[in-house]
Structures are given as structure tokens and as C-alpha cells.
């Protein structure tokens, strides 16, 4: 079997992870395994979670140009993917679509259930989100990513709608 990450070397490490009843398996070569911090687990140094989550964020098949930056903190998606750490709360809005698959992999599900913050600044937050979405839309239009444009338009409409109801 070939390593799932580099696709070149033979896979020698079989790594299994179970979260929320969902098991995921990875077959990795020694080089990629040690890059993920998996090799070092057996050496007693523990798993480097930063690298590990970082790898979960990686989008190996979609090499996107990193033109989008979070307006609040300036992080790009690749910076988040590299560190496994999100820059600021606004990043979750800016990169929602790209973060979602990884979040689903980590938790086994999406969609918050439970306590909600008071969010007195709800209106302000919505405005901020709308602004970020409009900016992404402009960039997608410029890059002729029409499918994504349609998605973004729908989300903008939904957000504008929810604001008017109040």
C-alpha cells in the first residue's frame, strides 16, 4: 500500500482514530508519519496535536490561491492549516466552508446544540459577517468561480433576510 499523504513511499504505519464513534484510518509512510508526529508517539514524546490537526485542515486536492485573509486578524487559510490554530473568532466566519469538513472529522458532526451566548452584539456580528461574505463574493467573481458565487449569494440573502425579520 502507498502512503496516503505523499502517494509515493510504501505505507508502514497504520493509524486509527475514533472520535464520537467514527473511526478513521490512515496508512502512512515513515516520513509522513513522523511529520504528523505519529512516529514520535512510540518514542514517548506524545502526539504533536498542532501538526496533527494542521494535517486535518490540509486540502491536498485543492491547491487554492490564498488570496482571502481574515479581515479581523489577517490570517489566511493556509496559516490556520499549518498551525492547526484558528487566528480569531472572525476566522470561523471567513473560512467557514473550508473549515467545516475538518470540524466534522474532529467531532463526527456539525451544528451546535446547547447553551448560547447572549450575543448583545448580534446585529454588529451579522454586519461583519455580511461584509466578509460580500468581499469573498467579489473575489470569486473575479476568479470566475461561479458555483461558489451562487453559494455565497444564497448565504448573503439568508443573512439579510434574518436581519429584516427583527
Amino acid at each position: 500500500m502507498v502512503c496516503q499523504l505523499c502517494g509515493k513511499n510504501a505505507a508502514t504505519t497504520h493509524f486509527k482514530k475514533t472520535v464520537g464513534g467514527r473511526t478513521e484510518e490512515y496508512y502512512l509512510c515513515p516520513v509522513c508519519a513522523s511529520k504528523q508526529g505519529i512516529g514520535s508517539m512510540w518514542d514517548g514524546f506524545g502526539l504533536d496535536l498542532g501538526d496533527f490537526w494542521g494535517s486535518l485542515f490540509a486540502e491536498p486536492t485543492r491547491q487554492k490561491q490564498d488570496t482571502v485573509r481574515c479581515e479581523n486578524c489577517g490570517h489566511t487559510f493556509s496559516e490556520i492549516a499549518r498551525d492547526g490554530r484558528v487566528g480569531c473568532p472572525q476566522c470561523y466566519v471567513t473560512f467557514y466552508d473550508r473549515l467545516l469538513p475538518s470540524i466534522q472529522r474532529i467531532h463526527g458532526r456539525t451544528g451546535h446544540v446547547g447553551k448560547a451566548a447572549t450575543q448583545a452584539g448580534e446585529q454588529a456580528q451579522r454586519e461583519q459577517e455580511l461584509e466578509a461574505l460580500r468581499k469573498q463574493l467579489a473575489e470569486c467573481l473575479a476568479n470566475q468561480e461561479y458555483e461558489r458565487c451562487a453559494e455565497l449569494r444564497d448565504r448573503i440573502r439568508a443573512l439579510e433576510g434574518s436581519g429584516n425579520e427583527e
Binding site: 475514533t18 472520535v19 464520537g20 464513534g21 514517548g44 496535536l49 490537526w53 479581523n72 486578524c73 490570517h75 498551525d83 492547526g84 490554530r85 484558528v86 487566528g87 480569531c88 473568532p89 472572525q90 470561523y92 466566519v93 467557514y96 473549515l99 475538518s102 470540524i103 474532529i106 467531532h107 463526527g108 458532526r109 456539525t110 451544528g111 451546535h112 446544540v113 446547547g114 447553551k115 448560547a116 451566548a117 447572549t118 450575543q119 448583545a120 452584539g121 456580528q125
Partner: protein, 340 residues
């Protein structure tokens, strides 16, 4: 050693459950997460929490503020040993600090992995009580600070593993009989399928020193606080039941009763005790006391002792650094006196 701290008294299900911990991660929407903050932003966040806590007293007694930059290294390590702060936080320097109340049930780490890590600790199995207190403090702080929140992702945290409720609920369990019978391997697999983890509290690997284990929820997104706590409680009840049954079986045999008494004998006489040896022996004594085959110290005495003789706690009490050999001597003296 303070007299009023929570761990001096054992709580509900105290024969198996040593303590309960609820931890909530919260962030301020206006600031980047701690790893991306400047020194000025870190200071501003600390100041904001200081101001808010001064103006809106959460009603948990006087909160002491400890700036990690000025903290005595032994005091910081002693707090790690008492599970008040994380090892990473003890190494934090500028712009991070800890608020802590007198009985150490409530602590708040500022600018650790998130802007706020609110922690409530209680003796024994007290998940509902601990969560109720954490929830109340969180709600009160949120009225002023408006924590970062998204309808779809819940509370927003620096690491996506904590999204959703951003709540980690843990029980510290004493499982000597299940460890002895080798049942814990199977348990580890079962609890992970239910979105929880169980791991040794001291030492690496599957066998924990002193048979202390921590059971916590792992998944935080898509499951409410109440549901996560109910799950944790029901798994814990099953583990408690199994541990009690295993104890009954094991301590029907004279060699286990003998081992518990011998352990007490060594602890009462030893002149040098490493922390590892102490943990192993006190674990045998604790289970002996819990099943009623050993008379002498109470579970409260034992709980207090476990929290008194950890390496950094010893040095903090002594007010100076000590070589391991000196610590072993001091530890043995404290143990002899406590168990005499």
C-alpha cells in the same frame, strides 16, 4: 497547607470518585486568539477580566489574581500538580494570569489556549453542582463581555476540537481493582466509542500510577452540556459499579488485605519515600479503607495527603527548592505524621 481547600473532604461516591472538574473555554470576539495576540492585546484582555470581575463579583469568595510572569516557579508547578493550571500555562510569561478563590474550587486561566478557561473543581461525583456553578459564572461574565459565539459552531475557540459547548467535564476515578484485573483496556475502547476518553492521571501508557484515571467527554459539538454530562454520569456509574464488584472479589482474598495493611505499615515507618512509591502504596491503603478491611486513616486524610506530598507542593510549602533525595525525606516525615 490551607485548611479550607476542597480536596480535604471526600465527596459523593468518594470510595471511587475522587473529584469532579468542569472547564469552559471562552473567548472575546474583539481580540485574536491568544497564540495570535500582541503583548498589548494580552495585557488588554487581562485588564478587561480584572475590571469585569471587580465590577461584577461572581460570588465565590475573594478572587486572588496571580500574574504568571511574577509567579514563583514552585508555586506554579504546585498548581499544575493540583490540576489548577496546565503545564503549558505554568511556563507562560507575559500577559497571562490566574484568578483563584480561597477554597480553590473556582479558577480562571486568562490567555492560556483561550482568553478564558473557567474551571470548577469539587470533591467526589458532583457534575451537576459543578456545572451549575460554572454556568452561572459564565452567564454573568457573558452579560458584560459577550463571548465569541456562532449559531452553527457554538462557542468559538482557538482549537476547533473545543468548538460547540467548549466544555470539558472530567471525573478523577480511583480504579485499583479494575486495573488489577486488566479490565481497563476494554473500557478505554468502549468509552471512546461514546465520545469520551479515559486516561491515566500519573505516568504514561495504560497503567496509571496509583490507579488514578480521568474520564472526560471528548466531543463538544452537536451535543448539549446536559447531554454530555448525563452520558458521562451514566458511564461513570457503570465503571463505579464494576470497580466495586471487582473490589469485593479481590479483597475477599487474604493476599490483597495483607497488601493493603503492609502498604500502610511501610508508609507509617519509611524514612524515604519517592512520589511513585508513595502513590502505589497509598492506592493500596485507600482501597483497603474504602472496602473497610483497613482501619486507621479516613478517605479525607488520604485525599489531603495525596495533595500534600507532590514534589512541587512540598517545595512550595517549604518555601525553597529541594533535591529529590531531600524531598523523599520530607515526604516520608509528613506521611508518618499523618498516618501515625
Amino acid at each position: 497547607m490551607k485548611n479550607n481547600v476542597w480536596y480535604r473532604h471526600s465527596g459523593p461516591e468518594g470510595d471511587v470518585v475522587i473529584s469532579t472538574r468542569i472547564r469552559l473555554a471562552r473567548n472575546l470576539a474583539k481580540f485574536p486568539f491568544p497564540a495570535s495576540m500582541t503583548g498589548e492585546q494580552r495585557a488588554a484582555v487581562v485588564e478587561l477580566f480584572q475590571k469585569t470581575l471587580a465590577e461584577h463579583d461572581p460570588g465565590v469568595g475573594t478572587l486572588r489574581y496571580l500574574s504568571m510572569q511574577n509567579a514563583d516557579p514552585n508555586e506554579a508547578l504546585a498548581m499544575v500538580e493540583r490540576h489548577l493550571i496546565s503545564p503549558d500555562f505554568a511556563r507562560c510569561e507575559e500577559g497571562s494570569g490566574l484568578f483563584i478563590n480561597a477554597d480553590e474550587t473556582v479558577s480562571m486561566m486568562i490567555n492560556e489556549e483561550d482568553h478564558l478557561r473557567l474551571q470548577v473543581m469539587q470533591s467526589g461525583m458532583a457534575l451537576d453542582e459543578a456545572y451549575a456553578l460554572a454556568d452561572r459564572i459564565d452567564t454573568q461574565l457573558d452579560e458584560t463581555l459577550h463571548f465569541a459565539f456562532d449559531d452553527r459552531l457554538g462557542y468559538l475557540t482557538q482549537c476547533p476540537t473545543n468548538l460547540g459547548t467548549a466544555m470539558r467535564a472530567s471525573l478523577m476515578l480511583h480504579l485499583p481493582a479494575l486495573q488489577e484485573r486488566g479490565t481497563l483496556q476494554r473500557l478505554t475502547g468502549t468509552v471512546s466509542k461514546l465520545g469520551m476518553t479515559i486516561r491515566g492521571l500519573y505516568g504514561e501508557g495504560s497503567k496509571s500510577q496509583g490507579a488514578m484515571y480521568q474520564l472526560s467527554n471528548q466531543v463538544t459539538l452537536g451535543i448539549s452540556e446536559e447531554a454530555a454530562i448525563a452520558n458521562l454520569k451514566s458511564i461513570a456509574q457503570q465503571i463505579i459499579r464494576e470497580e466495586r464488584e471487582a473490589r469485593k472479589l479481590l479483597y475477599g482474598h487474604p493476599q490483597f488485605v495483607d497488601r493493603a495493611w503492609r502498604s500502610l505499615g511501610i508508609l507509617r515507618c519509611a524514612r524515604l519515600l519517592t512520589h511513585d512509591e508513595f502513590l502505589e502504596l497509598i492506592s493500596h491503603v485507600r482501597v483497603g479503607v474504602a472496602v473497610g478491611c483497613v482501619q486507621g486513616p479516613s478517605l479525607d486524610d488520604i485525599g489531603t495527603l495525596i495533595n500534600t506530598v507532590q514534589p512541587a507542593v512540598l517545595m512550595q510549602e517549604a518555601g525553597r527548592s529541594m533535591e529529590p533525595s531531600e524531598r523523599d525525606e520530607v515526604r516520608a516525615a509528613i506521611v508518618r505524621q499523618a498516618l501515625a
